[in-house]
Amino acid sequence: MQNYSQDLIIPTDPAGYLLYTEDWNELVANQLAEIDGVGPLTEDHWTIIQSLRRHYFEVGGVPSLRHICVENHLDPHCITTLFKDHGREVWRLAGLPNPGDEATAYL
């Protein structure tokens, strides 16, 4: 297992989302995944993470998580199986800002 140095840990809010989206990079995602016991991240994980980021930064929100799976030719429920805490986990790993209480309730 790779040993990430302590100084790589970047600030998150109490809910676990990155405080500053610009802090995100692949190393950070890997580190968070390892902390959460989701890693090591596979190609499918990365496909979902990148797709989520693309949509978010293009339109200021995300499409249905089901669509993210389907558009990448993965099973419509792939997020449930790939990411331990489902929507919240992928949101955190993708480095998106806290989506608010209501979106969190539905993630």
Binding site: H55, V59, G60, G61, V62, T80, D101, E102, A105, Y106
Partner: protein
């Protein structure tokens, strides 16, 4: 999973022995100034908060006559004591509906009744102190305003009404609940609870069109802001976002497609939910509801149809006309508003939809009546239509349907445990415990009939179940949308 114990599902329902104060610690996060101001509430507890609270109570007693009747007419008969899911799940006696009412009633008596003003101790009247306020904040946020207790009360006392009044008073003195107030502020700013801006909404709907095309080979449309469309669909924003909600939205689109209907969603009124009701604020409820009127006028639609959302349907069915009416600009041949289940049911009755029930043969289903639909509204043109219509839609879509125990459905339905503005992580303990009666009834049909899935027509219910079912040994994927079943079963062809 959490630092509290999930209640155990017993073989048959039992009334727990009381444990005083075991839920006194449960309270939601307090709203910040930034979420209070847009709603017209002070940002923090006012210095003269006692005076403001009593003045507000007086104002509400004058405005809402039902409130005073409810506060005056309780005879402490005890019929309600074992009817609240939160009492059954927590054993805390303050979660008995009568005790919850008394939190407000004792203050009412002190300031507004002769006996309470002069002989407070004789009638259990108390001053409005900080301790009382803290108790209110805790226990009025352990009520999901589901109104089950009112069904069994011989006087019809509606605890939801009292709980809403208490929350309104708390907002007026500057102690708001973060979850509800942040969300209402978001509706004012962006248009929906989830904060999905117009481009994200468009991206989502285009995505759904691609998914359905790939899945069925049929180009079903999910239109946004189409002027001149016949039908405006107003649905909870959860439908644009998460499962199983989005599967329901896919279903609505397929039904409209099969009916050859011209319909649209509005980015201005992209939210059916109206949290103004949860916080008991008429002004905020009206402001949210008016967005629907504005969208209907702007788009020039002829009808308004609501998607699967429980409290939204209460606001729509019971209050929309007085909040945001008159709707004389809509086509008078249709009810204002209509429920999507009612719309689908009409088509089914006319034989306008082709259904292949075997598409849902991998599921054995039961139906959860959502409280606001069951006890605060109706559906269609027959008494009890809110019970009959969703079940008929389900039965037309699947081969295996079994109702839960008669005491736990229809007007006696148990709340999912997350309604009334409690669907937030900071209240997870009360949400899990409050789900106990429903989970017990579910377990019974699972054991007796091999039921695999629970269908619902409320975004809060669906989300609550997907989060709490794992605590009771079920899986989060066992909760489905009613129109998800329709979506699976409906047979589409390109000629439509």
């Amino acid at each position: 999973m959490a630092n509290f114990e999930t209640p155990e599902i017993k073989e048959y329902p039992t009334i727990p022995l009381i444990k005083e104060g075991v839920m006194a610690h449960s309270k939601p996060f307090i709203s910040k100034d930034a979420f209070q101001q847009p709603l017209g509430f002070p940002g923090e507890l006012l210095d003269n908060w006692q005076d403001v609270a009593i003045e507000k109570m007086g104002e509400m007693l004058g405005k809402y006559r039902g409130l005073q009747v409810f506060l005056d007419s309780c005879v402490k008969c005890g019929a309600c004591t074992d009817k609240c899911h939160y009492f059954l799940g927590t054993s805390d006696p303050k979660n008995m509906p009568v005790a919850r009412q008394d939190l407000l009633r004792k203050v009412y008596r002190r300031y507004f009744t002769f006996a309470g003003k002069y002989f407070p101790k004789l009638v259990g009247a108390v001053d409005m102190t900080k301790e009382v306020l803290d108790d209110w904040y805790s226990y009025f946020h352990q009520c999901s305003q589901c109104r089950r207790c009112s069904v069994y009360c011989p006087y019809g006392i509606d605890t939801a009404e009292i709980s809403m009044a208490a929350r309104e008073i708390m907002d007026a003195v500057g102690v708001g609940q973060k979850y509800c107030n942040e969300i209402i502020a978001k509706v004012y700013k962006i248009g929906n609870n989830l904060g999905l801006p117009e481009p994200a909404l468009r991206d989502t709907l285009e995505g759904l069109e691609e998914d359905v095309l790939e899945d069925t080979g049929v180009a079903v449309k999910y239109p946004l802001d189409v002027k001149g469309a016949d039908i405006l669909l107003v649905t909870p924003s959860a439908d644009f976002f998460a499962e199983p909600h989005v599967d329901g939205l896919i279903g609505y689109g397929k039904v409209f497609h099969a009916a050859g209907a011209s319909w649209t969603i509005s980015s201005h009124a992209s939210e059916a939910a109206n949290f103004g009701m949860f916080i008991g604020s008429y002004e905020n409820m009206r402001k949210v509801a008016l967005r629907i009127r504005e969208a209907a006028l702007d788009l020039g639609v002829k009808r308004i149809i609501f998607g699967e959302c429980g409290h939204a349907w209460r606001v729509a069915y019971s209050f929309l006309n007085t909040l945001a009416g008159p709707f004389d600009f809509l086509d008078p041949r249709y009810p204002v508003p209509q429920h999507i289940c009612e719309y689908t049911y009409d088509l089914l009755k006319r034989g306008a939809l082709t259904m292949d029930k075997s598409a849902n043969d991998h599921m054995r289903l039961t139906f959860h009546d959502s409280c606001n639909v069951a006890r605060a509204s109706r559906m269609g043109d027959l008494p009890g239509g809110q019970f009959v219509i969703p079940r008929e839609v389900i039965k037309a879509s699947c081969n295996h349907f079994y109702d839960m125990n008669a005491d736990t459905i229809h007007e006696g339905t148990f709340c999912c445990g997350g309604g009334g503005g409690l669907l937030t992580d900071d209240l997870m303990e009360i949400r899990v415990k409050g789900a106990l009666p429903r989970m017990s009834a579910l377990k019974q049909v699972v054991e007796e009939h091999g039921v695999t899935h629970l269908a619902a027509i409320c975004a809060i219910c669906k989300s609550q179940f997907s989060k709490v079912m794992p605590y009771y040994g079920f899986q989060m994927s066992q909760i489905v949308s009613v129109h998800q079943l329709v979506s699976n079963a409906i047979v589409l062809n390109d000629k439509q």
